[in-house]
């Protein structure tokens, strides 16, 4: 007996259409990953509806990408993705928002999901994307005095010797 294949996102899309109307986001798909591409100006609006009315109570992942020099990429230079999970229905949805140089800025998702705190700090640390409204946007992985954003594609892999000027301890000193 074959089971009828139903669209797992049907209910979500119905809710989004009634609350937000058309033209807020575009979609793309890879295997069973459905992505919603949304302009930065309407990002929080979409996330709020997804959390409060579509049941995506859990922000599973938040990360960034630098598409500088990426073959065939025509959208924004940076993209930040939010992987959302509906714990009741196990529905997963990916929201992507693009930003550009100079001063890439996005609104923070911290008011919606507390878990965004450290993930946004990590994206800021690696790509320099500023999340407005984040309560404590500091570096999280790199040392505090570090000035560059090392996961940007125009940062050299071997670095610029930021900490190579650190003090050397000799036998006499130690």
């Amino acid at each position: 007996m074959s089971q009828a294949v139903t669209d797992p996102h049907a209910t979500t899309f119905k809710t989004l259409a009634t609350v937000l109307g058309d033209g807020v986001f575009s979609t793309s798909q890879y295997l069973d990953n459905l992505r919603l591409h949304v302009p930065a100006s309407r990002l929080i609006e979409l996330l709020t509806v997804l959390k409060n009315q579509c049941g995506f109570s859990f922000l599973a992942e938040l990360g960034g990408t630098d598409y500088l020099g990426y073959p065939g990429h025509t959208r924004h230079r940076f993209e930040v993705h939010y992987v959302l999970l509906n714990i009741d229905t196990t529905e997963r949805l990916i929201v992507k928002a693009g930003v550009d140089d100079p001063n890439p800025t996005l609104p923070s998702a911290y008011p919606l999901w507390r878990g965004a705190d450290w993930m946004e700090r990590e994206v800021y640390d690696m790509y320099g994307i500023v999340f407005e409204g984040h309560p404590d946007l500091r570096r999280i992985l790199m040392p505090e005095e570090f000035t560059a954003f090392p996961l940007r594609k125009d940062y050299p892999l071997r670095g610029r010797g930021e900490r190579h000027n650190f003090q050397k301890l000799s036998r006499e000193q130690s």
């Binding site: 005095e145 560059a148 071997r158 010797g161 930021e162 000027n165 301890l169 130690s174």
Partner: protein, 231 residues
């Protein structure tokens, strides 16, 4: 070698010349030399090394194997692994050290009491290994003194025992303090002061292209990865 007072450096106690203490110290030193006492002290030191395992990666697993019964570092008197640097006299840097971890490593080295020795274990600790990136120290000897290097990724337990035996030889000779390194290390050290003018965290190069693959800045000029090796 004096047993009472450190002779030089910032850690030395400031004692005026020709006092009872300094004369006594010199006398003890002389006496020890006459009766071969320094040899006895060195032998006592080399057979009772207390390692401080600074294990940050897979080398640490290999280090545990050396401590266990099959290889049994206790046969060479270095089985007392202490996790407080203040109780240790042998630092074993096992694994890659990230740039953020470096101040911690330096602090641990400073916290160890004299006399002390150090082993750089494995490719990552010695040269950065495969992690030739902005985040990893390209050889811990750029920032702390190292006595013995162990190659390997990770090294076999026998290599660690070999390194321990080599270090024991070095301690017996009493030449560990003030020993000389490789010429390219000296070049890198000579190049350090001009880098150290720049405060930490501020880039001093557009790219680390003027350093060879071992992370040392070559005084001869640019040495891009691969280019220099072809010569």
């Amino acid at each position: 070698m004096a047993i009472g007072l450190p002779k030089s450096g910032s850690g030395a106690i400031d004692v005026p010349e020709n006092t009872i203490i300094t004369r006594l110290d010199a006398t003890i030193d002389k006496l020890l030399d006459q009766v071969g006492g320094n040899q006895i002290i060195n032998a006592a030191r080399k057979y009772s090394l207390w390692p401080m395992p600074f294990a940050t990666a897979c080398c640490g697993i290999e280090l545990m194997a050396v401590g266990a019964s099959r290889f049994d570092i206790a046969r060479f008197g270095a089985e007392v692994m202490r996790f407080s640097p203040r109780q240790c006299d042998l630092l074993i840097v096992a694994g890659r050290v990230s740039m953020k971890m470096l101040p911690v490593l330096q602090r641990i080295w400073l916290q160890m009491p004299e006399p002390k020795w150090s082993i750089s274990m494995g490719a990552c600790a010695s040269t950065g290994g495969v992690f030739d990136t902005y985040a990893v120290v390209q050889g811990v000897d750029r920032f702390i003194p190292i006595d013995v290097y162990i190659p390997g990724c990770p090294p076999r337990p026998e290599q660690i025992l070999r390194a321990l035996l080599d270090l024991q030889t070095k301690i017996q000779k009493g030449s560990s303090l003030g020993s000389k390194g490789l010429p390219e290390v000296f070049d890198a050290e000579r190049a350090l002061p001009e880098k150290q003018i720049v405060p930490a965290g501020i880039p001093f190069a557009s790219e680390r292209g003027d350093e060879d693959r071992f992370g040392y800045r070559l005084p001869g000029g640019s040495a891009l990865l691969g280019k220099n090796e072809a010569k």
